[in-house]
């Protein structure tokens, strides 16, 4: 059976064809692929992910990094790490990729309603929170302050520089960027992202925090936020594990009782901090 726009898919494991429209090189090993569906677009929520297939190579779980208001143009931001992600980094415009999704539980923007919304991103971790930032700015009056704290190893490891520059001049959002180590010409802050947490103006009692980055960075971020007085129940993280099905049946992404694909990838911190603390769980 050939998949055509008017035929429903029978198998949830079968990819739908998408066409690569533009490729944006973000860093030396990270690209953002903008793709258009060959079929009707499918709505997604900020924080959800897709299974992205490259011809003959395989599938990888990748967060959606584009604006949920425009599902007809989907972006995935991909670091070249394994076979699939390296192949995704080598694609050219016009190529077909397969996508199935969206999957998982996204960012709880409703939890931030009437509260301060604080977003902390490390490196490529800006990609999974970018749809949440866009959705929050589109419904700006639902939230009090919106603050974005971004960290990267060096200026050349920053992704979505255009967005950061644009948001920096937007009074609707308070943007703070820092790098672990600077290079000549960098006029911004230097230091790890957690150093920003005590300085940025927000009300810890009334803040909902979304965090995405390496697991170690999320630990330090959580510690710093809790120290400042943020309620851990309003602190959210997104986890990364390898996945084969995204449906809770291949078994790979288990973390204790949790299937990261089905129960996450976004979790309230108390849901997973104990599990992450247990080594090699």
């Amino acid at each position: 059976m050939t998949i055509a726009p008017d035929l429903p898919l029978r198998d949830p494991l079968t990819a739908r064809p998408y066409v690569v429209s533009t490729i944006r090189q973000q860093t030396h090993d990270i690209v953002t692929l903008d793709v258009r569906p060959a079929e009707a677009p499918i709505a997604f929520a900020p924080g959800q992910f897709d299974m992205v297939y490259v011809y003959g190579v395989g599938e990888a779980a990748i967060s959606i990094s584009s604006d949920p208001a425009t599902p007809e143009l989907l972006s995935h931001t991909i670091r070249a790490i394994g076979w699939v992600t390296r192949a995704l980094n080598d694609l050219q415009p016009g190529a077909t990729i397969g996508i199935r999704g969206p999957y998982g539980r996204g960012w709880p923007l409703d939890d931030a309603e009437g509260r301060d919304l604080v977003i902390v991103a490390g490196g490529i971790g800006l990609a999974p929170v970018r749809p949440a930032i866009m959705a929050a700015l589109a419904q700006r009056d639902r939230f009090n302050r919106i603050a974005l704290l971004v960290g990267a190893r060096s200026p050349r490891d920053l992704v979505f520089r255009d967005d950061l520059d644009r948001w920096a001049t937007n009074p609707a959002i308070d943007v703070h960027v820092t790098v672990d180590s600077a290079v000549r010409g960098w006029g911004g802050r230097v230091g790890v992202v957690t150093k920003l947490i005590p300085r940025v103006p927000f009300d810890p009692d009334g803040a909902t925090v979304l965090t995405c980055g390496p697991e170690a960075m999320m630990w330090h971020t959580a510690d710093a936020l809790v120290k400042r007085g943020v309620d851990p129940n309003h602190l959210y993280v997104t986890l990364e594990r390898n996945m084969r099905c995204a449906l809770g049946t291949c078994g790979h992404c288990q973390l204790g009782p949790v299937f990261v694909c089905r129960d996450g990838p976004v979790f309230a911190w108390p849901e997973v901090s104990g599990l992450l603390e247990e080594r090699e769980l």
């Binding site: 059976m1 050939t2 998949i3 898919l9 029978r10 198998d11 949830p12 494991l13 079968t14 990819a15 739908r16 064809p17 297939y53 011809y55 003959g56 190579v57 395989g58 599938e59 790490i81 394994g82 694609l91 050219q92 016009g94 190529a95 077909t96 397969g98 697991e215 986890l239 990364e240 594990r241 390898n242 084969r244 099905c245 449906l247 809770g248 049946t249 291949c250 078994g251 790979h252 992404c253 288990q254 204790g256 009782p257 299937f259 089905r262 247990e278 080594r279 090699e280 769980l281």
Partner: protein, 383 residues
């Protein structure tokens, strides 16, 4: 529903012939290479007639009996999972249209009517567990659902449990367990109880309309009170003979409260991480996907195959393996099977079939591991 009936052992031949005439592939236990495996059955003679198994940690031997019993062997390495959720399954194929453009071709859904003959009660429970995992989740698994919908289950109750059996501990056997909702059990269309005391005979009880129809279609006499009493006695004796016992009281909290127990290090010093236990387990469901491209590069196939949490590459975050030690991988398997499975699917992942004990090359016995942890429970007093 047809009333319970009794047939001579040879009467099973008529049932097999009837099923084959109706287009069923009849699959059941048969002896091959010194082991009871699952394969196609053409007649009663293909069953393990007059054989009995002797199973222990890391050992399996077939021995001759002095009678013509059909169902005196317990489970071998195979189970219905091989047919319902095969070790390798084709998912779909991407076909190149040139210039990095492709389209997707799905295979037709499996269309095969399988009648399993001689399914053990623990295997009915295992199918029930797999139903929860593969049918009741976010999306029903297409391959499993297609096989499962058409399957006919003819159970054989156990009168001769093996040394590694502990179904009585798990509440899944040795007789066919009624599905009262406490453990998920697949319904048997027909249940056979082999009675060896006195006249060698088979008691047949229908569990579905289809089973009832089949029972009506073969020559039988009505079951008597003596037949039912003989069944009760046989099952009671089998429960007594159960080779192993697993204390499941509080086992979820026992294991999850002992994640740092020294026993994990001890068992890891014996475990080879060979994956045998996961390959023979009737409920293990983990899979990987393989991509292969043909020589022309014009067709790229996606195939799913059984995977095991005992491999180092099974679970990783980014490029880093999550469980680099055998300790962590054994702990993952046992805690999943007996504890977190309950969180995920509201049932234990263990049905007490004992395969993981028998087929472990170094004879690791999960009932012994749980008992060792229980004997030196590291949890602080919860009272």
């Amino acid at each position: 529903m047809a009333a319970p009936g009794v047939i001579a052992p040879s009467g099973l031949g008529s049932l097999i012939a009837l099923l084959r005439d109706e287009g069923y592939r009849v699959v059941g236990p048969t002896v091959r290479d010194g082991v009871v495996v699952h394969d196609d059955l053409a007649g009663v003679d293909d069953l393990p007639v007059g054989w009995q198994d002797r199973q222990g940690p890391g050992t399996y031997r077939l021995e001759r009996r002095d009678d013509e019993a059909l169902f005196a062997t317990a489970v071998g390495p195979h189970g219905p999972k091989r047919e319902l959720f095969p070790p390798r399954q084709h998912l779909w194929e991407a076909v190149s249209d040139g210039d990095a453009v492709f389209h997707v071709v799905e295979p037709p859904a499996p269309d095969e009517r399988i009648a399993f003959l001689g399914v053990r009660p623990c295997e009915l429970a295992a199918i029930g567990v797999q139903d929860r995992v593969l049918l009741d989740g976010l999306a029903a698994d297409r391959v499993y659902a297609a096989h499962r919908e058409q399957v006919l289950l003819i159970a054989a109750e156990c009168h001769q449990p093996a040394g590694t059996c502990f179904c009585a501990s798990m509440g899944t056997g040795p007789g066919v367990v009624d599905n009262d909702g406490s453990v998920p059990v697949a319904r048997a269309d027909l249940a056979i109880t082999e009675l060896l005391e006195g006249e060698h005979r088979l008691l047949l009880r229908a569990g579905s309309e289809e089973g009832s129809r089949l029972l009506d279609a073969i020559d039988h006499r009505a079951a008597t009170a003596e037949d039912h009493a003989a069944r009760d006695a046989s099952l009671a004796a089998a429960t007594e003979q159960m080779g192993r016992h697993l204390d499941v009281e509080d086992v979820h909290d026992l294991l999850m409260g002992n994640l740092s127990h020294p026993r994990w290090d001890e068992v890891a010093s014996r475990c080879l991480a060979c994956t045998n236990c996961t390959m023979v387990c009737p409920t293990c469901f983990c899979t990987n996907v393989e991509d292969t491209t043909d020589l022309s590069g014009e067709r790229a196939s996606r195939d799913r195959r059984w995977d095991s949490c005992f491999t180092i590459e099974f679970s990783h975050a980014g490029p880093t393996s999550v469980r680099t030690s055998t300790r962590a991988r054994y702990r993952q398997w046992l805690t999943h099977k007996l504890a977190t499975w309950i969180d995920q699917f509201d049932t234990s992942g263990c049905v007490g079939c004992g395969r993981c004990i028998t087929w472990c090359p170094v004879g690791i016995d999960l009932t012994e591991e749980v008992a060792a942890i229980r004997a030196s429970d590291g949890r602080k007093s919860t009272s």
